[in-house]
Amino acid sequence: MRIIALIKQVPDMEKVKFDREKGVVDRKSAGTEINPFDLNALEAAVQIKENIGAEVIAISMGPQSADSALREAISRGADRGILLSDRKFGGSDVKATAYTIAAGIKQIGKFDLIFAGIQTVDGDTGQVGSEVAEFLDIPHICFVEKINEVDDDSITVTTDIWDGIFIEKMKLPGLITVTKDINSPRLPAFKDKMSARKADIPVWGLDILKDYLDENGTGLKGSATMVKKIEVPAAVHREGKLWRDNLDTAVDEFIDIMIENKVMEVK
């Protein structure tokens, strides 16, 4: 069995700072890490590898520096990593990203399962996984929180969405996006971490993917959407007010405040 895990390198969202005036993320303000949901996806893949045997390939699209995320994935159980990187991939929206990743997967060749996190913590669109499946013309199941059974031909999973628990069976090859509840991603063994740092990460650009990729479908050119502005909401601080003397006035004023802040509706 061959399993592909989709990995994205994201800023450490607990430390990263936002420039409210420019409406951008200050990427220099924090280190990077693997998107936390992708760690769940990778862990799910590695557990299948341990249980029934499989090759796990981590694939990522990003700048050259994203190779460290793939080395991290190797230290956590992936057998190898592939980076899709080309200046022309820059500025991709979800569609162009999914198109490029699908091309990378076609270049890998035969596969049985693809795992992705339900979303990334920086983009939060939650669409790349499903769109990759569409470009590959394979079935997919989203919001998976448990893998019930898997063999060479099919996978049965549990999803918990829209107030219902669904048990779904999918023929392979197929794609699955996972929630954080599916597992607790393992920490890398220190020795694996050290040996993974020396791992060779092949970089595939437009030239290598040319059989599966039209340049016009990549990067800004291939994007159907564009981010015009990012607004970072200001932090909300609690306010307090003390009434001491005229309690009747206080109650009236209190009700006015509640109405004004839409805490209560008076008809």
Binding site: I34, S184, L187, A189, F190, K191, M194
Partner: protein
Amino acid sequence: MDIKIIAKLKEIVGNDWVIDDIDNVSSYIKDETEHAIAPVPCYDCLVVKPANTLEISEIMKYANAENVTVVARGGGTGCAGAVVPIKPSIILSMERLNKIIEVDDNNMMVECESGVTLCDLEERFKKHESLFFPVHPGDEGAQVGGMVVQNAGGVRAVRHGVMRNQIKGLEVVLPTGEIIKTGGRLMKDNTGYDLTHLMIGSEGTLGIVTKAILKLYPKSKYTGSLLVSFNDKKSAVEVVPMILRKGITPLAIEYLERDFMLKSAKDLGLEWPAKKGIVDLYFILDQPKEEDLYEVSSKIVQICEENGAVDSLIAETTKEQRTILEIRSHGYPSVKANVVDILDVAVPVGNIIQYMNGIEDLSKKYNVKMPSFGHVGDGNIHSFIMTENGEKPEGYSELSDEIFKLAISIGGTITAEHGVGKIRNNSLKLQYSDKHLEILRGIKKVFDPNNILNPGTGIS
């Protein structure tokens, strides 16, 4: 409480800041000491919440003149009953003195009022570009004043030390109401007896700390947490001095028995990452360069593996490192309901193995389980005496005495960070001579001639 006292306190701090109804007062008369050994609190108390040093001075002048007992209270996170009033008292809650006055980047110090919480400090320095405050005793509700007078320790004390190593100056209201300032933003100060250090660890018996100047340290860009697992406890303990002798000084080295961590993780709905072995050493590391972080980690792992380690994991993301610390910090709360006494002895780091051997012998002799975890990097392992069917085990007093004697016999102390409080007073004589105790009592008398400030604490 006398109505005259209530009226006078309201005159000093205002009507809003005096509490005299028993329901509210009862929230201010206990701390985190285990129920089985905690002092019995006196409910006939008042809580007063002063706004500043001058109000505290006025309260102390009045209390001293009227001979009324005063107990200053911070976050109530202590483990030795120091803030538990045992006679009718004015409880001085420091919560309104909550300003971080100045972060002095040039001198790498922070000056703050004593009611600033550890949480406030952590939040402030999480946002600071280059400096941090190292001490983290655990419960972030702890207040700076309490941390000063308790000389708090905790996990991150191996490289930079405990509170005593961080305090450069204090503002203190004496029991007689005068205000003194000690030390300053100085690296050197050799002017007479050092009252700063006399206040540190005085458990609220010599004065009321209202401001403190604390040292700060440069942040390192790269941090990591190593979990190294062993199949036997002694091997885990033995490697610690070997690592320190190599010149490796992590921020923290913790000894964590697996049962504890599994219980704690389950309580929190988390998963303890280490699976192999039965006991883990937990190292918190920080280095300016990534390469240095891996080099130090490699040396630690190598020493541990040469001494029987069966697995080594590394956490580098903020979330994964925080999860480990969170599970570690919850270790004690997760078993607290079944703990009679969390012993707090410290021994020289090189003698920890003798201590652990002694604990094992005493467990057999008294036929009790004594799980342990704690700050092995600074010789302070907490051994827990557990309840038997909800009661103190037979021979509890003799057992705790024997543990104290064991620690003292190998150069240790009966309390490393929790303090004497109101629960270890009788054990002081095991460690100190009569003359030593006489000097301590003499010091108390100089500061507090009428014995109004937190009597029965530390020394009695």
